[in-house]
């Protein structure tokens, strides 16, 4: 395990998570996250070869239900909390014709 996260690594992670952070936040998170990663490194004391991972505490798989039409939300319900929308759609800034992303 890498023991620390420098500021450029924090910038990279913040970009992956779509979080705009200030330079001041970046430097603080580099220090704090490095300290936390240093702490979690203790997991390396354990030999986990041959141990299968647990993603979920109960052995539940493939919960199925009948494929029946039931009442659901109207478009108006779905759009009710949107910061910007028209009659049918969520509205966002123009996505095409841009070089970013």
């Amino acid at each position: 395990m890498a023991a620390s996260l420098d500021e450029s690594a924090v910038r990279h992670v913040a970009n992956l998570a779509r979080l705009r952070i200030t330079d001041e936040e970046c430097s603080r998170y580099a220090t704090q996250l490095s300290k936390i990663l240093d702490y979690v490194r203790q997991l390396n004391e354990l030999d986990t070869a041959g141990v299968s991972p647990t993603a979920h505490p109960l052995a539940v798989a493939n919960v199925l239900r009948e494929d029946i039409v039931r009442p659901s939300w109207t478009p108006a319900d779905a759009l009710a909390n949107a910061p910007d929308h028209d009659d049918k759609f969520f509205r966002v800034p123009k996505v095409l014709d841009q070089e970013s992303a």
């Binding site: 395990m1 890498a2 996260l5 690594a9 924090v10 992670v13 913040a14 970009n15 992956l16 998570a17 779509r18 979080l19 705009r20 952070i21 936040e25 998170y29 704090q32 996250l33 300290k35 936390i36 702490y39 979690v40 490194r41 203790q42 997991l43 390396n44 354990l46 986990t48 141990v51 299968s52 991972p53 647990t54 993603a55 979920h56 505490p57 109960l58 539940v60 919960v63 239900r65 939300w73 319900d77 009710a80 909390n81 949107a82 910061p83 910007d84 969520f90 966002v92 800034p93 123009k94 996505v95 841009q98 970013s100 992303a101």
Partner: protein, 488 residues
């Protein structure tokens, strides 16, 4: 105005018998809530008129001779990460300040069908991420026993509200100790049910393999009654398990004779405050005197719980919180340059420091090149922790331990040191990783007069064992009857 000493059981009986009207109880509750709100900041929102209206409906039902639900007329508070189709649901975050849910969480419908009056939504660490309620974007909740101290978190508002007698019961959520830790700090009873026991439909997700909703009250009997109401299968949450719900309130009177209580010295090591250790050991002695057998056990991987949790919970959070994008609901940054900036600025402005820290930690743990060393490694260690519990519960009925290494700490004491804050959860986190049920019960006070909590843990789906032991403990002790509100 004096604190209410009425339990849920007493209030429900008073309404059923006609000794008190639901409206009078609701009015007294809201009056007191408003009076103490400036001191404790336990609530983020409440609605006097809606509460009184619902209470009048209960009174009308009674006058008409209609059957009343088991919680008819009982005021209940909800942690503000439970969706209600009335009022705000903020999760203690600026990003959800404008959000109004279009639907109720499953537990909200269950409570209202049982006749409970939902009086308000309580404060929490933003998105339930924290151990003190200081991470709320709307300011911390203060501890009713000493307002210079934290209430614990993340369900700090719910626990402080019950401790101060503002309500007799509340719901919280527990991902790594978020019901049990504040219950311990505030001197009330808090239950984290088994993963899958209560539907999370309408609970805003934090760590989906860990989150569970549970009840908070002053007595175990009240917690049992609340669990009766909220437990059970719900097809809208595919992780809620379809198995029978016993009558938890009916099985409390069993004797402790022959019950086996496991004690693991891993829970009494360095870092545990001596007064807390003494109170918890004295509580175990009480259970032994009542006929329980104390059995030494060993949970060798428990100490890796925090490291394991802060990779798994943050990984799940980084994915769950991706939905807050400034498009579908909540707040949006005012002047986005483009669509990527819309996401990044909305999230950068809308989330607080701890939420951003955890999203980044989780994103890192899942990212290309680091996934195996961090997330996958932690998932394997989780298997080892779970095996420890499986092994222990093949030998004992419950495991007894402290809830937290200390009593309530001072406001601001740990807010600059995230790791120190995380370590508050060292004794509670393993129960979530293993998916077992666990309860916090008041078991004494330190020399400053601050409450201490006893934790009891049991195998999945045997909440009745926890509740019986905890109830019998409360019958033998008086800690839960001591009340002191905002004395400093």
């Amino acid at each position: 105005m004096a604190a209410t000493t009425d339990t849920v059981v007493e209030l429900a009986e008073a309404v059923r018998s006609g000794a008190r009207s639901a409206e009078e109880i609701a009015r007294a509750t809201v009056d007191r809530l408003e009076e103490l709100q400036p001191r404790l900041h336990a609530f983020l929102s409440h609605d006097r008129e809606r509460s009184l209206g619902r209470a009048r409906e209960i009174d009308d039902d009674r006058r008409r001779g209609e059957a009343l639900g088991p919680l008819a007329g009982v005021p209940v508070a909800l942690k503000d990460n439970l969706c209600t189709n009335f009022g705000p649901t903020t999760c203690g975050s600026k990003i959800l300040e404008p959000f109004r849910s279009r639907y109720n969480a499953h537990v909200v419908d269950r409570l209202e069908s049982a006749g409970a009056i939902i009086v308000g939504k309580t404060n929490l660490d933003e998105f339930a991420m924290g151990s003190s309620t200081e991470n709320s974007a709307f300011g911390p909740t203060l501890n009713p026993w000493d307002v210079s101290r934290v209430a614990g978190g993340s369900s700090g508002g719910s626990c402080a509200a019950v401790a101060a007698g503002l309500v007799s019961a509340a719901l919280g959520s527990d991902t790594g100790g978020s019901i049990r830790l504040p219950a311990s700090f505030c001197g009330v009873v808090g239950l984290k049910p088994t993963y899958g026991r209560v539907s999370r439909y309408g609970l805003v997700a934090f760590g989906s393999s860990l989150d569970q909703i549970g009840p908070i009250a002053t007595t175990v009997a009240d917690v049992a009654l609340l669990l009766n109401t909220i437990a059970g299968h719900d097809p809208r949450d595919s992780t809620s398990i379809d198995r029978p719900v016993p009558d938890y309130a009916a099985s409390l009177e069993e004797s402790l004779k022959g019950k086996r209580i496991g004690i693991s010295e891993e829970y009494f090591g360095p870092g545990l405050n001596a007064e807390v250790a003494a109170a918890v050991r004295a509580a175990i002695d009480v259970l032994a005197r009542e006929g329980a057998e104390v059995v030494p056990i060993h949970l060798p991987h428990m100490k890796y719980g925090i490291a394991c949790y802060y990779l798994i919970a943050t990984a799940e959070a980084s994915s769950n919180l991706a939905r807050f994008d400034g498009v579908h609901y909540g707040r949006r940054t005012p002047r986005p340059a483009d669509v990527i900036d819309l996401y990044a600025s909305t999230r950068g402005e809308g989330f607080g420091a701890e939420v951003k820290r955890r999203i980044m930690l989780g994103t890192f743990a899942l990212s290309s090149g680091y996934y195996d060393a961090y997330y996958l490694k932690a998932s394997k260690v989780r298997t080892l922790i779970k095996k420890d519990f499986d092994e222990a519960f093949s030998r004992v009925d419950v495991i007894a331990s402290p809830v937290a290494p200390t009593t309530a700490f001072r406001v601001g004491e740990k807010s600059e040191d995230p790791l120190a804050m995380y370590l508050s959860d060292i004794y509670t986190i393993a129960a979530n990783l293993a998916g077992v049920c666990a309860i916090s019960v008041p078991c004494g006070f330190d020399s400053l007069g601050l409450p201490i909590g006893l934790q009891l843990m049991a195998a999945p789906f045997v909440e009745e064992k926890l509740l019986t032991l905890a109830h019998q403990y409360q019958l033998s002790t008086h800690w839960h009857t001591r009340r002191q509100v905002a004395r400093r």
